[in-house]
Each structure stands twice: as C-alpha cells, then as structure tokens.
C-alpha cells in the first residue's frame, strides 16, 4: 500500500506520519510538495498536522488554495482514502471535503495532552481494527480544535454515522468535563458521507510506537491497510 503525505510550508507532523507508515508499517511513503498539481500513484493520502502558512488568516484557510488541493479533492471524490489530522482536518473542512469548522479552543489556549476517546463507529475503512465503542487514548495538540457545526448538519452527521471519534471520560461517556476544547457533542473526528475521508483533531501518529507510552493510534493506520487489501481483493 502506498501512502502520500502532503507537505505545505509550515506542515510539521509530516515526518511523524511518515515514520508510522514507512518505518513502523513498512509501506512506501511519498512526500508531496504543495506546489505540485498532480498526485503520484498512491492508495491513501495524509494531510498532516502543523501550521500550514503559519495558520495566518485562519487555520487551513490559505493551504486550501495551494496548487495541490485540486488533485486532493479529485482523489477524494474518486473514493481515495484521505486522512486529515489536526491542521489536516482544518484544511479538509476549509476545502469543503468535510462539513463543519474548527474554532478556537474554549480555553483560548493551545492544549497538548493525552485524551480519552470513544470509537463511535468501527464500520469505517479507518477504524475497522478497533472494537465497537472501544475506549482509546490519543494525544491532542491544538489551539483551534473546537469543532462546530449547525444543528441541522449535526443531525445529518449523527444519522449517517459520520461521527467517528468523541472525547469521553473515565466511564467512557462524552461529558462536559472530558471535552477539552468545547467541540459540539464532544466530536473529535468525523468522516464524509462516503466514508473515505476522515478528519480528526487527535494525533494517531503520536500513539503508534510503544516507546511513546501508547499504541492506540496504530490501529487506525492498520485499519487502512486492512481496508485497502479487501478493496484490492474485491
């Protein structure tokens, strides 16, 4: 399985993602400079975290106009796997591939810490290696992770099972206290209706190597491997 990672000026989780896909999973991984206009032959695309264009204007707002984005949108519309992590999630909402928006954290401050999440759906191509409603632990690191969507579209997300991850407390329930940034309904990650585009604020690539204290994130990448193999076989 071939991974591609988009590199914008200011991307800074690009190498962390590559370490997971290439070194830990052994899959060939290509960096794709934002000024390219076509994608190489790849099976999954990662839009990594960071501060593309310094987050100037608004997180993701400038990256969305980078030359490569037309090819990314095209790839997604044709059913290619697209994973947006943190700033990548912000860019995908700005580009219209995912609904909603990421606002400033309720505390107005950057927050970096491990958070408890619940896998709301293990029926997506990104989450099939998880148990149903599994409680997992992933780090967050963002200043603008407060997911917002209007009531009407929120209902659509809920009905279509597009909410993939929620922040939860020790008992596994989404509560006010376990919501680190003020996100609507404790939403930490969503996918598009077709299920091939996932955006999430937590960083699965930071929880993939046992030496870093948690490995709940590796299953997300392994899910993609499984899904891709099934897809190829089909």
């Amino acid at each position: 399985m071939r991974f591609g990672i988009i590199v914008f000026p200011g991307s800074n989780c690009d190498h962390d993602c590559q370490y997971v896909t290439e070194t830990l999973l052994g899959e060939p991984t290509h960096f794709i400079w934002h000024q390219e206009t076509t994608l190489p032959e790849i099976d999954a695309l990662i839009v990594p975290g960071g501060f593309s264009y310094g987050d100037y204007l608004r997180a993701g707002a400038i990256a969305r106009f980078s030359p490569i984005m037309d090819a990314v949108i095209d790839f997604a519309q044709k059913g290619g796997y697209v994973l947006g992590i943190c700033n990548g999630f912000q860019i995908l909402t700005e580009a219209g591939l995912l609904s909603g928006a990421l606002l400033q954290n309720r505390s107005t401050k950057f927050i970096c810490k491990w958070t408890a999440l619940r896998v709301e759906s293990n029926q997506t191509d990104f989450t099939r290696a998880y148990q149903a409603k599994q409680r997992i632990s992933l780090p967050i690191a963002h200043a603008d992770g407060n997911y917002f969507i209007d009531r009407e579209h929120l209902a659509e997300l809920e009905t279509n099972n597009q909410i993939v991850f929620r922040y939860v407390d020790d008992s596994g329930e989404p509560s006010e206290k376990s919501n680190p940034n003020g996100s609507v309904n404790n939403i930490a990650g969503i996918c598009n209706e077709a299920g091939n585009v996932l955006g999430m604020m937590p960083h699965p690539e930071r929880a993939a190597d046992p030496v870093l204290g948690g490995i709940d994130g590796i299953k997300l990448f392994q899910s993609l491997q499984i899904s891709w193999k099934q897809h190829v076989r089909a």
Partner: protein
Amino acid sequence: MSEPEQEAIPYHTLTGEEYEKTKTLLGRSPNATELAIFSAMWSEHCSYKSSRPYLKRFPTEGEHVIHGPGENAGVVDIGDGWVAVFKIESHNHPSYIEPFQGAATGVGGILRDVFTMGARPVALLNSLRFGPLEIPKNRYLLEQVVAGIAGYGNCIGVPTVGGEIVFNETYSKNPLVNVFCLGIAKKEEIVTATASGVGNPVIYVGSKTGRDGVHGATMASAELDESTQDRHTVQVGDPFTEKRLVEACLELIHSGCLVGIQDMGAAGLTSSATEMADRGNCGIEIDLAKVPLREEKITYEEIMISESQERMLLVAEKGREAEVAAIFNKWDLDVAQIGWVTDDKYFRVKDGDQVVAEIPVNALTAEAPVYDRPVKEPAFQDMLLGLNIDGISTPKSFSKTLLTILGSPNFSSKAWVYQQYDHMIQTNTVIPPGSGVAMIRLKGTEKALAMTTDGNSVYSLLNPYFGGAIAVAEASRNLACVGAKPIGLTNCLNFGNPERPETMWAFGLTVEGIRDACTNFEIPVVSGNVSLYNETLGLGIYPTPVIGMVGLVDLMDLIKNPLTPGFKRPGEKIVLIGDTREELGGSAYLKIIHSQERGYPPNLDFKKEIGVQALVREAAHAGLLSSAHDCSEGGLAVTLAECCLLSEKHVGAKVEIAPPSFRMDGYLFGESQSRIIVTVKESHLSALKNRIEKQGLPYSILGDTGGSGLEISVQNKTHPIIHLSIDEMHASQSKGISHYFTDSTDKE
C-alpha cells in the same frame, strides 16, 4: 535610505574612554555609522566585556567535545556518527518590555543558533523566573511569556519538553526567560560560523530588514527603569518564516555549497559579519544597497544594528550562488548577495561605491574593551547568613506544612504551563515534562538524550559559590536518576549591574562554583550566555545561574522503560541513598512557611555526590531500580510526596524513620545534597545494598510503597507525623498556579 544626520548620533552608547579608544584603533574619528557599529559590538551583550576574564576559567574541553564556546552552539560527539548540539540563552530584557514577543523571539534565536550549526532542533526547554502571582503584572508576564514560547515553538514543530518555573519577589521587575535548544546532526554535517575563501560571496537570506530590534543589544546592556517602554527595541517573531528558514538552511547545508553561516542575532548584520570574518581571520565587504529592506528611509546605522528576526548571513562557495538562490526561492525567502570575503581583515560597509564604514575586524572583536570590574562582598551578607534556628518554631502539623509547600507555586504542578506547549511533536518524547528531566529518543539509533535545567537563586544569594556548584550537581543528579551520563553543559548567568562591585563579587564566586563542580564531575562547559544589568530602579535580581545539562542514555531498556520518579507498584522497598543533616538554611520550607531567606545553604561534598550519582546510574543500568527521584528542594517529605503524585497508578507509601538527632522539620524539609530516593523490588534489595555498601555510601531503608496516601511515622510512636491521601495532596498541588488564571478549563 537617507544620509545620516551629522548632528544626531542616536545609536552611540560608548563611554568617553571607549570613544577615545575607537579613535586610536581607527587613527581618526569614527563617523556615525561606525559609532553605531562600535557601540553594538562593544556592548556588554556582544562583547562580554565584564565577564570575559571569568568565563575563561570554565573547563571547556573533553574527549567528546567537538566545538566548545565561541561557536553559535556547543557540539558534543555522542557516538555512531551522531552529535548533540545545544545552548541556552537569555531573553530577559525584551520579555519584560513585551513578554509575548520577547519570549517568542528568544525561542527563535536559540533555534537559529542550533540549526546554523547544521543540526535539526529536536527539543526546547525553558527556565523561567517571575515575581509572585498575587501581583497582576506578574500573572500577565507569565501568561504572555508562556503564550509567546508556545506560539513560536508549537508552530515551528520543535517540542518543548521541559524546564523550570520559579517564583520569587526578586523577579517582580526583572523576569528571566532563559531558553535552551538541543539539536542533533550527523558529525559530517556540522558547519561553523566561519567566513573563508577570498572572493566567496556573502549572502543574506530570510526576512527583510526593518527597524524592529534596533538598539536591542545595547538595551540589554543597561538597567531598566519604570518608564521603560522601548517596545521598538523588542523584535517581532514570525515562526512560519523561521520554519521555512530551518528547512531551507538544512537543505543548503546538505547541498555542500556552504562555507559558513551565522544567525543575525544581537546586533544583527554587524555582529554576524564581523564575527564570521573574525573566526576566519579575513575581511568582509558588504553593500547596503543590496540588503532586502522592508521600511523606507531607514538609516545606515539602523540597517547595521537592526535585530529583525529570521535572518541569516552566509558565505557560499563562489560559482554556486544560483544553487543557494534556488533553495531559498523554493521556500519563498529573500536571498541576496550583499558582499564578499576579502583578505584585508577589514569590515567594510558600502552604499554602492561610497564607503560608509571601514573598521579593522579585530577592533570590533579582540580589541573590544575588557573590564576588570571592582569586587566587594555585600555589607548585608553576614546578616543573611545569620539564621537563628532556635527562633523558628516547629509546625504543629507536618501534614499541613507539607500541603502548604505542595500548593505553593514553586512546588505545584506545572501542567497549566506545559500543556500549552506541544511537547510530543517529532514523536521522540520518552519522558514528557513534569518530572524534572526530559528524555527524547533518537530514531534509528539505540540512544536517547536526557535534559534538564537547574538553578536555585536563594542558595546563590546566600552563598554564590555553592549556588553555582549545587546547580551543576543537581542537574547532573537529575540525569543520573534516569540513568543518563552527562556529556556537557551550557549555562546562562543572570546577574544585576556589573558596575556594582557586589554583583561582580557574586559573579566571580558563581563561576568558581560552577568551574569546581564541572572539574570534579568531568563535565565540560560547551556553550553559554551571560545576562547582566537585570536591574530595575537600582534593584538587582538575586544571582541566578541556570545550568542546562544534557546526558546520554545508550541502553534500550532505559529508553523503552524509562526510569521516572513516580512509584511503580505497591510492595516495593523505598531506599534513601545519601544522608540527611539539619540543613534548613536557604530551604523552601524556611521561605514558604517562615518567610525567611537566610542561613548557610546546604553543603556539597563533591566526592560523595559523584559516588551517589554513579551508584544510581549503574544500578539503573543493571535493571535494579523501579523509580528514582532527586531529593533536594523541599526535602525528604516533599520528595516522597512527589513520588506518590507522579505515580501513574497512584501508589502511596508507608515510611518509618528512626528518631533524628536534630529538629524534625530539619529532617523532613532540610535540603541536604547528594540524596536520591529509589524504589526496588524486594528481590533486588540485597543486590542494591551490596552495591551501596561496597561504595561506602550512607543509606537508609525508609519503608514500603503501597496504600493510597503518604504516611510517615517515627519508630515507637503510635501516631504518624504525616498522614495524607494522594487525593488531598493532588488537590493542593494541582492548583498552585492554575487557580490564578480563570480561563483554564483544564485544572487537573
């Protein structure tokens, strides 16, 4: 660009004597631009004119040292072709005037010092000092400094993995912001800030030059007063540009067309050009008409001493200018050839054909003034040392005392701060912030680097020699607790006005203390920084040496399962290595509970310290230890409480002590040095005891881990003298800082 006005000499800060010296060196009177250049290069900040004679006393050489002080950062060989590059630097004055930008650009500057050596920055630490949080201005300073560090470090993608924050009244008008950066590189990738090769192009890259930071170096070389609002002397940071600059510079270094490179830091273009020429024993000629500018009507002097951020000066190989340009163009950064290397050893500045300044390079460097400042012990020193311990009442409840100390800002959880820093990016952080040492693994190797910053200014106030020596000992001890072997240190010496003999008295003794500790522990000083004039309205800070130390861990077991301070599981033996004396002088207990900063600070016996550290390091390597924690500030009771609070599984402890032959508060809260608390499985206890006894070191078995709280009792007494649940201690310790800030949604 306008002609300099004849009558006004705005950037001239030389003394009369210094002015005469410039005339002798030039054989004529300097013009306005030359005066600005001399003023910047001869400022305390750039020339170290008060401290240079002292700094020569540090041991700077070692088997593994590749570059010591004098380069942008120190470089130490860590084996298998890898080197560690690190330095600490102050950004104190700017952070008081404009805390967000002051701190942010401090981070930016130290990052550039490291990546200009060819190393990729992999970790940041910061050592911060503020006045008490009861004062709104101090809350504002803390909040803004932290936001500035976060804003810059998070954006550029270098994890902020540790450091320290200390509160004391002495910093109310002089906060300290010392930033440390560590980078790693392959040995052959290291480049230096040396100009060479006559005719080689001198190239300017990065941001355009503006008026920001004009006068920064000279501002940092003077006392501040109440009206100090020179915000234009503070630079403005742009981490997005710096991120592109890192990537472009590392790409350039790998391209092989680089000769030398230096950050335009303090005194900007002036210092970078002259220092590079000085190291290469050559000259440099630059043309100001070619410098990328962002402001109109900027004068020659302003261009020469602007401290606009995210700029670099480099010397490339002749004929490869286009390659350099292509790399910086790719990253959307300015690039302009502004001059070339000459062989006449002059620093020559032109505007087109017109010569604007012409100064021998060594007049700005080697010939810069050096002052042997007068030295005098402060009149109040004896009074400070006079602690009447019998006049200090023993608390009725030691439990309450412990809770009060844990809840004080100096001992409380720093989570409110470090959760604002991305401490996980680059996915190397093996020991995260919160325990006194941070550790990052090096991907693709079987190595990790541990880092810490330390310094206790109350000790330094009471006895500057021991303050300096103990800072080194404690840093090294913290590293021993994770099994790391120190490879080098960098120091930041923060002091008041050097023109006061009392300041230089303390400075000299501090240097001696650091030197003696380094010599005894065999740890070289590889880089550092001096920050003087930390005075406002004539009130100077306590002498504040800050030590940043790096240690190497080369055992995978200690990287995969790092040794940390928290208790691991119930039923283990708690062992104190070292011994406890009645040493309450300068202690946190005296300060927090009795409002006194007095007495002799604890003694330091180098031989014992070396023995304790070696023993713990070796026991860690042998896999005998479950946890290890330095026992120093706050004393035994606080250290035990921290081991409970840092326990992931909330493991408590039951400790029984023999009745001490001296005051109980001295036993519980005294700060005797050379002590480490470890835990071992019962099955490892005899092996550990054998090792300790073989080394002839003092030790005591304190008790067992287990339970949900900390219980300390005295043999043959029925009631424990301390009995607290972990929940109670946590409730107190978690709020010490965060409760001053209302915004926090996250007060765990």
